[in-house]
Amino acid sequence: MSQHLEEEVPLSTTAERKIIVDQAGAAPSKEWVIVTRGVKREYDMGGEIVRALRGVDIAVRRNEYVAIMGPSGSGKSTLMNIIGCLDTPNEGEYWLNGQLVSTMKDDELARVRNKEIGFVFQTFNLLPRATALANVELPLVYAGISSNERRERAMEALEAVQLGERVHHRPNELSGGQRQRVAIARALVNRPSILLADEPTGNLDSKTSEEIMRVFEGLAETGQTVIMVTHEPDIAAHARRVVVLRDGTIESDERREVFTEKLGLTL
């Protein structure tokens, strides 16, 4: 990636985050990529109101590698959808890279997704009929980039994930790990502010999972902001910071050393 290497990726401290989150209504400074303030999301499930998020405050500084954990029903999918600009909160603010996303309309959200977010899904979500190259080009298509530049940048992104040899293969001709690496190339090709991964290893065996985690590790080291949603503690333990959700609120938000120690995991 083009960003310069840093000695040690700095983690935001709890105190810093509290200051940012408490300044309701104010646009956070540029170094804060993600700021949510009192985000609530409710669903009407046939007359019954389900409160998926009950006021979530998160602040993520640029270059952080954060895992969002929680059991099913904790609201982590809802939070991921909101962070990924696929959904908007009923209440509260969401600032992404200095833009107030929580009040945006459909097409503005589409633009933000295209520019600011790179998605990596559990089920890869590649277009089955398109080649790896065409899949990686897709975000650039919607960004309105010329076909020559698209091709060049997509090739670069695929080479960065060691798939330069397989650009003309379709997803069904690739292994699970390769598919996920195509998805990572696609997520990064438009140089997003955040890489947002939803259970990125959920459909992979443990060896391939390790391989994908190493890719994430490498990205985090080059300064890419990574947000990873998972329910597996040992996967979450790869991140520098772990946020645990329970019943629609944040239960804990701490460095991974604290998290792993609490769970008795070894790194």
Binding site: N81, L86, D87, A110, R113, F121, P139, V141, Y142, R186
Partner: protein, 412 residues
């Protein structure tokens, strides 16, 4: 989504599912096929009417003085009674017309009808019997392959001389020299003195079955037992002179018939324009019905395409979700599905156009109907095809664009 990629995707879908695509496109195909065929035939007919028919039947720079118009669309009972009340046309009026006009004009008295004619050893058959004057040959520009036309003296004397069409000559006098032979029309014998070169046919109706004799001969009385004449045909040197002459004839006729200024003409002056406008009337009806029926085919085609596109949207919900997650706006999704629907439909229209061209050529070859494929009709067919696809694709495309990306991504 780039335009070409969407087109390629649609073509790929057609290739992979040939049978399904065939049925999908059947409606559009049949609609366009008949549209092209009908337009070609109508175009062919009007080319024909404008270039051939009007000149052959009425003549260039010619008008007819008649009791009632020959080409008379939309007459009701009232009109019909008025026409029947009109006085007949007589030779004295032909003389009046002739005296009114300068020497630049040619005129001829004409009466015609189909009557049986017979010759020894041949089955009797209908011929187009025409009783006229010597100038008729000149006005009609008939060239003779054998013999001669009759002379003005023969008209004065009422000679039983006959000039016949090519088909008549071949039918009654096969392998014989027709000149000097006898042909009986309505029981009266006539001597053949000339044969006209082949004139071809109009809408399958042969122009070579003429048998022309002086109007003063027995044929005149056979055709008009009451002693009147059917019409006077007048040819002028140019169109302008002809129009002036026509107005002079109108004034003279009105004076002769003592029509006061408020009263309508009780005779008809008919130019080839009348024939053309008569055919314009027929043509507009043909275009209306000829396009309304294929139009139904296109509507059915549109519904089938809409249905197929709805299925495609349902099948590809996940793809739509992925595209939206990667930043596709509503209009991007709408565009993709509209291009796909339009491509499908244009392919159908192109096949239909090819079949339509083949069909009109076949019709032209097998029937007397003329057909000429207008290039614009093929372009129009493809545009109509694209239009049908876009209209049919609108609803499915907007449904696709309105899908919630979260729900779409969750779909298996």
């Amino acid at each position: 989504m780039p335009f070409l990629e969407a087109v390629r995707l649609a073509l790929h879908t057609i290739r992979v599912q040939k049978l399904k695509s065939f049925f999908t496109l059947l409606g559009v195909m049949i609609g366009v096929m008949f549209l092209i065929a009908v337009v070609s035939i109508v175009e062919g007919m009007s080319d024909y009417v404008e270039n051939d028919f009007a000149a052959k039947i009425i003549g260039v720079n010619t008008f007819d003085v008649r009791r009632w118009p020959n080409f008379n669309p939309n007459e009701d009972d009232e009109d019909w009674r008025e026409l029947l009340r009109r006085p007949r046309l007589y030779e004295t009026e032909a003389r009046l017309v002739r005296e009114t006009l300068s020497a630049d004009f040619k005129t001829a008295i004409v009466s015609e009808n189909f009557i049986y004619a017979n010759a020894p050893g041949v089955r009797p058959r209908m011929v187009q019997a025409i009783a006229t004057e010597a100038a008729y040959f000149d006005i009609k520009k008939f060239n003779l392959t054998q013999g001669r036309a009759f002379a003005p003296q023969e008209v004065v004397s009422g000679s039983r001389v006959l000039v016949i069409g090519d088909e008549i000559a071949k039918y009654y006098f096969a392998n014989l020299d027709p000149l000097g032979r006898e042909l009986r029309i309505a029981g009266q014998p006539y001597t053949v003195i000339g044969v006209i070169e082949p004139q071809g046919s109009v809408f399958g109706f042969s122009l070579d079955r003429m048998a022309i004799a002086p109007y003063t001969s027995a044929l005149g009385r056979a055709l008009r037992p009451r002693g009147d004449i059917e019409y006077i045909t007048v040819q002028g040197p140019t169109r302008e002179v002809l129009m002036d002459g026509m107005e002079a004839v109108r004034a003279a006729m009105r004076g002769f018939r003592r029509l006061t200024p408020g009263r309508a003409d009780n005779f008809a002056l008919e130019t080839s324009d009348a024939a053309l406008s008569f055919f314009d009337g027929i043509r507009s009806k043909m275009v209306l019905f000829g396009t309304a029926l294929p139009g139904i085919g296109l509507v059915v085609g549109a519904l089938v395409i809409m249905n197929i596109m709805l299925v495609a949207v349902a099948e590809r919900t996940r793809e739509i979700g992925i595209r939206k997650a990667l930043g596709a706006r509503r209009k991007d999704i709408i565009r993709q599905f509209l291009i796909e629907a339009a491509t499908l439909s244009v392919v159908g229209a192109a096949i239909g156009a090819a079949l339509g061209v083949a069909m009109s050529q076949t019709i032209a070859a097998l029937t007397p109907l003329p057909a000429s494929v207008a290039p614009w009709s093929i372009v129009a067919a493809l545009i109509v095809g694209a239009g049908v696809g876009i209209v049919a694709g609108l609803y499915p495309a907007s449904r696709a664009a309105r899908l919630d990306p979260i729900a779409a991504l969750r779909q298996e």
